[in-house]
Subunit: 451 residues, 2 copies
């Protein structure tokens, strides 16, 4: 089932100079994406719906603006997919659930509205797991069709990883951006909590965060930046802060090596691959702080094994609604795992929930204290490459800490094990997303430099 050649992501940001010079244009860029789509979508099933005619018209309009020297933004003409939990005026929003199959809201979500204002080309809706939670969709991994693309932002990651799109919108409440980005060889960007406006996105949880899966660091930054200046963050949040252009790479003085609960279960080869990156960073003058060398980091590490269970407790209570009203409507249209989550929620009390969010607050404080030691942490994005089978979207154990912490996280497609991708994760300080991108640029450079 392996593809003949490794898929390649397709950077829009890298084409901007050619758009400006006239050597390339956004319609031609789209056609390269669509050629990949035509070739691979029948097997890969990244999309729930596409609007190719609309996409071509939008790409043509963008090309004209680039030609006249007046693009709407640096993502004018960028082909983007929208996770199908997020509303679009021109396509249905199915939420990965038979209850919403074909449902039309007749409006764009805040992120989609901002993307359109910036000239982005909305190619289609990408597969999500049921209500962006557990029950997987039909999407397969672009590196190996026998494997999962990860989830819940499954379709966005598969489409970006295979070069069908330059970027895709995703959401993460447990590991739904970092994990699929890792499995599909993309950059995954989960912003600081509240970083991008979730209006019109149907995951209502307190850890949920809209973000971007993209071909490169520059594409991830630019797409997020063009959204936030037009749509803001979640109501009441400052939203992602930072410069107009992707932050220049900046080597950090220190990085905290974060084991998390994942280190014990990670594949030995994955651990070796990360350790090789750490060795390069160290050789390049980056001090690697560990739980053995730093008490603040040790305190955080002591707490992180709670992250997954705590997140699931919080999510269960926060899913009580709307799952209860969906169950009342037609419980047979909920997956077994959704029904199980509802039972868990209905066995909980508000006091149980309060205890969980109080504990979360304490762990967030431990992470905030780490800022004095290191401005970013480095970890694996997942315990190994994508597992075989599409019945599960894989283990979120490395991705969940940043979700719990409300901290910005990036998955960098730096590792390759047996020709399958694995991400290196960087977790930054809350609301210091631009600094995390700068650090990521340096980590990418150092990691890719010859030894």
């Amino acid at each position: 089932m392996r593809s003949d050649a490794s898929p390649k992501t397709r950077s829009f940001a890298a084409s901007l100079a050619d758009f400006a010079s006239g050597a390339d244009d956004s319609r031609a860029f789209l056609e390269r994406c669509l050629a990949e789509y035509e070739a691979r979508e029948p097997d890969m099933q990244a999309f729930v719906a596409v609007d190719l005619e609309g996409a071509r018209a939008a790409a043509d309009a963008a090309a004209l603006r680039w030609k006249s020297g007046a693009p709407l933004s640096r993502i004018d003409g960028m082909p983007i997919g929208v996770k199908d939990i997020i509303e679009t005026a021109d396509m249905p929003t199915g939420m990965g659930s038979p209850l919403y199959k074909g449902w039309r809201s007749n409006r764009d979500a805040a992120t989609v509205s901002a993307l359109r204002e910036a000239g982005a080309v909305i190619v289609g809706k990408t597969v999500t797991t049921e209500f962006a939670a557990s029950a997987p969709g039909p999407t397969r991994n672009p590196y190996d069709l026998a494997r999962t693309p990860g989830g819940s932002s499954s379709g966005s990651a598969a489409a970006v990883g295979s070069g069908m799109l330059a970027a895709g919108l995703g959401t993460q409440v447990v590991g739904s951006i970092i994990r699929p980005a890792s499995y599909c060889g993309c950059w995954g960007y989960k912003p600081s909590l509240g970083g991008l406006n979730r209006g019109g996105s149907h995951d209502y949880m307190s850890q949920s965060c809209a973000g971007v899966i993209a071909a490169t660091r520059e594409d991830a930054w630019q797409a997020a930046r063009e959204i936030v200046i037009r749509a803001g963050g979640d109501p009441g949040f400052v939203g992602i802060s930072g410069p107009e252009l992707p932050p220049e790479p900046q080597r950090p003085a220190r990085l905290a090596f974060l084991e998390t609960a994942g280190w014990e279960v990670a594949a030995p080869r994955a651990k070796e691959a990360l350790q090789a990156v750490l060795a390069k960073l160290s050789a390049a003058g980056v001090e690697i702080v560990t739980r053995r060398s730093d008490a603040t980091l040790a305190a955080l590490e002591m707490a992180l094994p709670e992250a997954l269970a705590l997140t699931r407790t919080i999510n269960a209570w926060e899913s009580r609604w709307p799952l209860n009203t969906y169950a009342k409507r037609d419980a047979s249209k909920l997956s077994a795992s959704a029904r199980q989550r509802l039972r868990e929620a209905e066995a909980m009390s508000l006091d149980d929930y309060r205890a969980a969010i109080t504990r979360r607050g304490e762990i967030r404080a431990l992470h905030a204290a780490l800022a004095g030691t290191a401005r970013a942490s480095i970890a694996l994005s997942a315990p190994d490459v994508a597992p075989v089978g599409i019945g599960s979207t894989g283990d979120p154990i490395f991705a969940v800490p940043a979700s719990l912490l409300g901290a910005p996280a990036l998955s960098l497609p730096l590792l390759s094990l047996d020709a399958l991708p694995l991400g290196v994760q960087l977790i930054g300080c809350v609301d210091a997303d631009a600094e995390l991108f700068a650090i990521a640029g340096a980590v990418e450079r150092i990691s890719r430099a010859l030894a």
Copy 2:
């Protein structure tokens, strides 16, 4: 246009003993409400939709449970109306907008789902202004059909004020619960920010809060309490805390007399009426702290004149979406005021918004500092009784401070000017809602005692 007799609210909480003894039942209670509905609704227009058959069946079922000594809760059988910005599975949710006329979400909002679990009888959907913002609906004041009921929770206040319902759900982001409760002679309860789960309610703003308009203090507490233990607060918030039964009245040692920017524009007779209440409180041993006697209070008062403009700035940015996608769909179906708000939003930058929420945070800190001086503040709920005309829902100047502060607020129907109601407002400490109810009980008793 004045009604012959002053309307009377109808307390469900006061009937519980009769339900338990069999002297009354929830179906009979509902029929008394519906008799009022039949008599007054044609002129008053509080409802967008009703389900009288469903309500009667639900009231019968509740009556059986009371008879068997096993009610689902202390609001089992309580007739409640739902502001039409909040989703209901069995009735359309029109949001006061032609864009959503007849729209069905096929699900219950979190609050509605919780109410049904607790046995409450959902009588119908009550009139809201357009998207719970400015453009008024057709509802008229139950005390005088020539006057506004206030807004945006217009229908809930009018229906409760006239005894058609024991309680109604409302939402407040500027003054949408406190003001209509004041104008219609009801108790209005805007909880601490995030106090009740807004899932499935279509006002997305950072100050927005779901709350209850009710016949009495006890009804307001009980309805809110039965919702929160089942649906929680907004995701990530602790939700309203407090006892199962309405907190016992408790005389506060001190109350802060809060002028707000409203005092300068309030009607002299309204000011005199409040001062008479203050005099009674003082005579009963409650120390009234003023801006002249307390520096912490003075600092807060200095800032509160900013509350309305700051709130409007914040709301404008936060309304950019979804108004932009609605305008794209059909701008002719937005009111002139909605279009104007969108223009304001589109002239703003994210930095403008950040400055506004930063300033709001500073003013919230001034309010938090007041807790050491007094655990609650007392103010008018509105500058005067409901104004004549239904083209405007009246001045929110007294209601907006609690919205900005994220603090719990109650409007107590204690004043009557020329046979028209006016509320006394109490504003509590954030997340100390039960304490505010206890203080309100004492203020009600003292205020109603003979001089």
